[in-house]
Symmetry: C2
Subunit: 355 residues, 2 copies
């Protein structure tokens, strides 16, 4: 840290992303990436000719990309905002709506929400979860401040009912309610059908999971034209060309390839349900997941010991030091081979511990 950094930022505790070992030796189940490559249409679209045009700026309006996303969800392009990963979209939203009243979110959720709050000097209002890790909808009603909720939630993998979210929207009509649907394609009820009725609803989504484009960095928001306009005002005061040309094209093609998308999502759901049953069979406590990961507590050993044991055996999962989460690990649902390795290594560990 330099002596020039402004006071407010000196106490920042940045978000810590999951380990990204660059040597690729691990079976990597720690950052909820898709185990499948992007759509073949993406690979075909990024030709040498397209790459040769990188000397020109991308379209700052991302017109075709926004039209493509809008068409997929039955919306108009003015209801779509695109950003450099959903993290950037979230960062803009916290900047646009974080007032002196602060920003509310579940105490256990995407770890970035409190980071954004601190970055902008907002009062974070962390609402505790129920004992079973579900989100207490009633505690978010009539809050009178902006709200961010991941649905399905991370790292718990649990989905909220749309009816419950609708109550939150209705009772906070004066504030933006951001629903982070990063994992919605894997389960749960999307808030899309509520968009036309709730001008305070802001849905944020990502290409990093179900669209197999984590490396491309692309996220988007779906909301009223007025909210999208807010996000554009912030973007155009921050980084007008925030999406590069190749990612823009990749995003168009990935969205258009509905068959491939469905195939990947279905395969992940099959593996998720199988792995959940297998782990439960081994004595794990596993929450019912509506996402592409499992939140699981091992028997006979701590969450930390399980995480470290797996890492030693070449399998990376994510363990959170937080006392409320420490019995659990978050396991990304990979492909069949990866899940078999996970199961094999898990059995080895259990045998070692109980021997």
């Amino acid at each position: 840290m330099s002596r020039f950094l402004i006071d407010r930022l000196q106490s920042l505790e940045p978000y810590v992303p999951g380990e990204q070992p660059q040597d690729m030796r691990y079976v990597k189940l720690n950052t909820n990436e898709s185990p499948f490559p992007p759509s073949p249409r993406v690979v075909d679209a990024l030709t040498r000719q397209i790459i040769s045009r990188l000397n020109l700026y991308p379209d700052p309006l991302a017109q075709t990309l926004r039209e493509t996303i809008a068409a997929e969800y039955g919306l108009a392009p003015q209801n779509v905002f695109t950003g450099n990963g959903s993290d950037e979209v979230l960062a803009f939203a916290f900047m646009a709506y974080g007032s002196e009243r602060g920003f509310a979110f579940p105490e256990i959720g995407y770890g970035f929400y409190p980071v954004y709050a601190r970055l902008y000097g907002l009062k974070p209002a962390a609402v505790p979860l129920n004992k079973d890790f579900s989100i207490p909808a009633e505690k978010f009603c009539n809050l009178g401040k902006p709200i961010a909720i991941a649905n399905p939630n991370a790292p718990t993998s649990l989905a909220m009912k749309r009816n419950d979210i609708e109550r939150i929207l209705r009772t906070n009509a004066g504030s933006v309610v951001l629903i982070d649907e990063a994992y919605i394609d894997y389960g749960g009820e999307s808030c899309l059908p509520l968009l036309s009725r709730y001008p305070n609803l802001l849905i944020v989504r990502t290409y990093s999971k179900s669209r197999s484009l984590a490396g491309g960095r692309l996220g988007y928001a779906l909301a009223s034209a007025e909210i999208i306009d807010d996000l554009n005002r912030v973007k155009n005061s921050f980084n007008p060309y925030s999406i590069n040309s190749l990612t823009m094209l990749a995003g168009i093609e990935a969205m258009r390839d509905r068959a491939y998308f469905t195939e990947c999502v279905n395969s992940t759901i099959v593996q998720r349900e199988k792995t959940k049953a297998d782990l439960r069979g081994l004595g794990f406590s596993v929450l019912d997941s509506a996402s592409n990961f499992l939140f699981a507590a091992p028997p006979y050993m701590s969450g930390e010991a399980y995480y470290k044991g797996l890492k030693q055996k070449g399998v990376l999962v994510r363990w959170f030091g937080d006392p409320k989460l420490k019995d659990y690990v978050r396991i990304t649902v990979g492909n069949e081979t990866q899940m078999r390795v996970l199961l094999d290594k898990t059995k080895e560990l259990l045998e070692e511990v109980t021997a």
Copy 2:
């Protein structure tokens, strides 16, 4: 704008980028892009195999990219920060260093500085230029607040002497002095040799011009390890994976291809000097450019009429409505063919006006 947007942002006047017509019909000399494609090494590096791995997150530390840039400039990787275009780097710097004392910059310069100031609610301190459009170094001495100066400056194309910048650095030891070297490869004296002596120096650069990668979105900062640490703290509280995998690889290869880089820059300088002489021969007032663009005022007609006349004839240049700049247009230096078209269309316009 929605009714939820916080007060401070309601009066934002976002930066207006140059027109980006997507139909490619124009000879496009309005956004200072390189007329040359990226290095062949970039095109070769982005293989189908690489694109197929986009399901995985990029390295959030951009380790290899930072090492490559550091090696090129004789620095250590901890002196290098990389961002999603230099606009993002600038946005982070204004966030990190903009205090209640505000942020100072030349009244005429990169149009984004006052936008950042407004975005963060900082008091902008715009220092007027000299009559000849040069930057009055003495007016930036002993300011006691952070400073941002583009060198060479845009849209004037003029470079400041390194000695003058050093005076500013020395007399503002308590504040960060950001030197935006977006165009430095085309002329002027870089502040690189001052880095080791001035811990308050922050150099920002871009791949969008001399590296032919505007479409890839890649910028970087060179500074003391402490300043780089500040920028990382902000980035990791905002968007840890801000650079996508393909751009990261492109940035590595473009930086390594020194021969191609030198060839492109030299060709641009040759065209710049020739076009400057040609325009002066036609009666234009043209400033001495240290960049990849010319700041030129036409004879017999207003800057606006020249801009509009050229546009009608299929040539896009940039005209700024600002009263202090209104006699001039900013013309990107393109390749030989583009410059010939510019000259031809300019002659036609002059003939039409003086007929």
